[in-house]
Symmetry: C2
Subunit: 374 residues, 2 copies
């Protein structure tokens, strides 16, 4: 059994110099928060980079110093989908985040003040460029796999497009190769909700009142899109919250209202509103073909990377057809891609919930990819 | 040709005394804004009440004094689905609204100030009770039909449940017999966005700054739910707004952002934020079985009302299964119900857009219902 995933894990920080961004701007120094689980083998061929979704962090597995399990702890550990007895797992907090990696709440090295909105607008490509610096720093020449759900899947695709020689396998789950109008629209609503909050103060709220109401509204919208109509009916229906009849007031009547308000309020304590703006913008800008030629098929036409693409039936935020567009493009160039649409009622949340079915598919894919390397 | 629908139409106001509400509260006096089109026949058997959706008003057809066509002008007029050469059409603004009928922005008769949040919480049943007062006032003993989409469909069902002897035919379109958890959730987000705006000031913003930012965010969320993923892809895709490349800033990059901001901003000029709160709450409270026994089938088991139920394939806000629950309940008691799911890519907006297919179905249904009355 592996100590790293049974005992306490600590988030480490790697410090880097200049990071040149897609916008043309340069960050003079960048911190990258990361965790690792398992052991890197002698020929450094068993490293897997796990990539978090929008509001995740570097703490993917094990128990943190303050007692919290990792966001994909069900999937990463001894005997699990990403088996730490076999593989060396790495997870970073993304650039622009607020959980250890440099983002808008970080201190600008020249002014001594938080960047706030002077932080440059970043892309998924920029996030991956920083991760590449970390992988180089760790001395890993090639990743066995890059894997993640939702925005994690976008990073996995970006890795495969930007550094194909460094990626043996890519596992984008419940994700897309470019953000759609509807996905942009939901993100834009969240951003507008935050910026509508007077406490946002053009982003200069650090050390003052945070834009808690706006950020909470943004998160509430998010939560609706992460669930399915079916899962909301099952979980809440029209059940009232601690009452027998509606109250004829604007307090909480229904369980679903209580849930959304609670989750919205809770989020405010753990996430930075400006990070919300920057990371959603990075997602909206994401189109893996951008600057890489005319078509998706072209982007990946010469890649040796193997792909395992998964989607979920009830995920209406990142619907199956978006995964299928990727699969078709890869197959049109005879690339190695497996696709599975898993049946689930959990909507977009399924990638965090439907562990068993993902587990076997990932285990098989990783074993096959490892064999291919030898 | 009928003058009422080719020339200018004027919204009239009927004034009523006490209106007892489902909450137990009483409104001492109530204005009801309404329009009519066509002529009531001698035996008063050709009257149809058209019911508006959430943010609609009494101006359903013709051209208003300020030059605006009615919200269902494509459907109401000489030779149209609701043929004003044959039928007498009535449309009211709902209770709680802000377009002539008493609502939170109206002056409280005792204080001389706007009701604001002292306005009682209302229900779809209360809206229909006021409409019933108007129909009585107009001297109409029985309606040939009640018809509407979305919240209009809820009112149609409420009419059929509350006053079955007065409703020969009911046409609920893109609607539901009770609001689901997801529908409540989206409404709750809109309410929270408004109440998060400091200018909302507990509803006391009349004569001061209105909560424009919050109301705009609420409307943006609404617009996403009215469209389908498909229609957003067709209409906007990832097209940029008057630029060749993304701007790396938080202004408008994409057309879809521009559209949502524009529609949000425009809405603020025509709709009252407190009405938004009250009307969404009425929708969320809607469950036509409430206080009427155990099941939907029971509610309508002895009705003579005929039903024409329509839904649209891409409407994910009021999905087909919700219409089908109603149809099944009616059929289980051998009631007269026709159901059609129309193919459309326009999402929930389809009921305002897909005129041709609805037209033939409504024409046939009204002719059959009229024949049955004789």
């Amino acid at each position: 059994m592996n100590a790293a995933t049974t005992g306490t894990v600590t988030t480490k920080i790697a410090q880097f110099g200049q990071l040149r961004l897609d916008s043309g701007a340069t960050l003079l120094q960048v911190d990258c928060a990361y965790e690792t689980y398992g052991q890197l083998n002698a020929d450094k061929s068993n490293a897997i980079l796990v990539l978090h979704a929008f509001t995740g962090d570097a703490h993917a597995a094990g128990i943190s110093e303050d007692g919290k399990p990792g966001w994909w702890d069900d999937m990463i550990g001894p005997g699990k989908a990403f088996d730490t007895n076999k593989y060396f797992l790495i997870c970073t907090n993304v650039l622009g985040g607020c959980r250890g990696t440099t983002g808008p709440s970080s201190i600008h090295p020249e002014t001594g003040q938080p960047y706030a909105m002077s932080f440059p607008v970043i892309t998924i490509g920029d996030m991956v460029r920083l991760q590449k610096m970390l992988i180089d720093y760790l001395g890993i020449p090639k990743l066995l796999a890059v894997a993640g759900g939702s925005m994690g899947g976008m990073q996995a695709l970006e890795w495969a497009a930007a550094y194909p020689e460094m990626v043996a396998g890519a596992i984008p789950i419940a994700s897309t190769w470019r953000h759609s109008a509807q996905q942009i629209a939901f993100n834009e609503v969240g951003r507008q909700a935050i910026m509508a909050d007077l406490d946002w103060a053009d982003g200069n709220y650090y050390g003052k009142s945070r834009p808690a109401r706006g950020l909470s509204v943004a998160r509430m919208v998010g939560h609706i899109t992460y669930m399915s109509d079916h899962s909301m009916r099952s979980k809440f229906g029209r059940r009232l919250r601690e009452k027998d009849a509606v109250g004829f007031h604007f307090g909480v009547d229904f369980e679903v209202e209580s849930y959304l308000r609670y989750r919205g309020g809770q989020f405010v304590d753990r996430f930075d509103a400006n990070s919300y703006l920057y990371i959603t913008k990075a997602m909206d800008y994401f189109d893996v073909t951008q600057g890489r030629g005319a078509s998706l098929a072209t982007v990946f036409e010469n890649t040796d990377t193997r792909f395992l693409v998964m989607s979920f039936t009830s995920d209406w935020l990142y619907p199956t057809y978006q995964s299928l567009e990727l699969v078709k493009a890869l197959r049109s160039r005879n690339r190695d891609v497996a696709f599975v649409e898993l049946t689930s009622n959990y909507g977009h949340d399924a990638f965090l919930v439907e562990i068993d079915e993902q587990c076997e598919l990932i285990k098989g894919f990783l074993a096959g990819t490892m064999k291919g390397l030898r």
